[in-house]
């Protein structure tokens, strides 16, 4: 079975925030909640500025699932991590556990009272009946059941944000990297291994 994944190509992202807008519009996300955000590093530094679009990454071993005291998370056969708002108590543990800051909490009243957790659903709705009013009200659109993919990925103008079957989007990304004619440009590569052009071994160096 296909495994749903997001992949953001930092070489293509132009920080337009189109994905953020598409998500908010498609799912009618309330004020103060952003299921998706665009993060920019080295902002303003020519040549070093990179942006990526971040939301729930639907982890294979999701820390939010591990820490939830009421066990409201579940993973579908397609690898989409979803949660049940009827069980959620809004404690915020998942927010502390998530390395991407994906869980969001709408303000439910005065004095900073937290509401039920809200996060990216990969446009796959929730435990309610597919495409029902209740499902839309709690979790937003269920595009997967409509034979579509997440609105953010489909709306991305530069196709930087890829979403869908992990095997297919990995192939698409691999093709891109090969076509660019450079070494690997996966986000974080430079931090981990140094820039490819600075890594050239000095002439005459012994292996």
């Amino acid at each position: 079975m296909a495994r749903m994944k997001f992949l953001c190509d930092a070489e293509r992202c132009i920080e337009c925030n189109g994905c953020v807008t598409a998500c908010k519009q498609e799912n009618e996300v309330p004020w103060g909640v952003n299921r998706r955000r665009v993060v920019t590093i080295n902002d303003g530094i020519v040549g070093a500025e990179k942006s990526i679009s971040v939301a729930c990454m639907h982890c294979s071993d999701a820390p939010c699932m591990a820490v939830c005291p009421v066990d409201c998370f579940y993973r579908t056969d397609e690898g989409v991590v979803l949660h049940d708002k009827d069980l959620c108590i809004g404690c915020g543990y998942c927010f502390y556990a998530c390395p991407f800051g994906a869980p969001q909490f709408p303000q439910a009243g005065a004095f900073g009272l937290r509401g039920k957790m809200d996060k990216c659903t990969f446009c796959a709705g929730g435990p309610e009946k597919d495409l029902s009013k209740e499902e839309f009200a709690k979790y937003g659109s269920n595009r997967l059941a409509q034979g579509k993919l997440p609105a953010c990925a489909e709306m991305c103008s530069t196709k930087a944000l890829l979403g869908g079957d992990g095997d297919v989007i990995a192939d698409i990304y691999r093709e891109r990297v090969l076509k660019r004619g450079k070494g690997s440009e996966v986000w974080g590569w430079g931090t981990a291994y140094g820039k490819p052009d600075q890594k050239a071994a000095p002439a005459g160096a012994k292996s």
Binding site: P127, K129, D130, L144, L149, E154, K159, I172, E175
Partner: protein
């Protein structure tokens, strides 16, 4: 003396009536609470099944645009 006995009895009747009414209300609330639970649309297994991803023409068209 007779009056006192009568008033005690009527108070008992009143308390009995209140008790019976309360029990009936509690039963009605319990029935209402059970109904939504039985009307839950999804069981745990239903939740975990796939959300209906299929490689439709729409999805294939998206993959093609991403290849550009």
């Amino acid at each position: 003396m007779k009056n006192q006995t009568k008033s005690r009895l009527s108070r008992r009747n009143f308390l009995l009536a209140v008790g019976a009414g309360g029990a009936a209300t509690a039963a009605a609330i319990a029935t209402q609470a059970i109904n939504p639970a039985t009307a839950q649309p999804a069981t745990n297994n239903d939740k975990r099944r796939g959300r209906g991803y299929q490689e439709t023409a729409h999805v294939r068209s998206y993959y093609n645009t991403a290849k550009v």
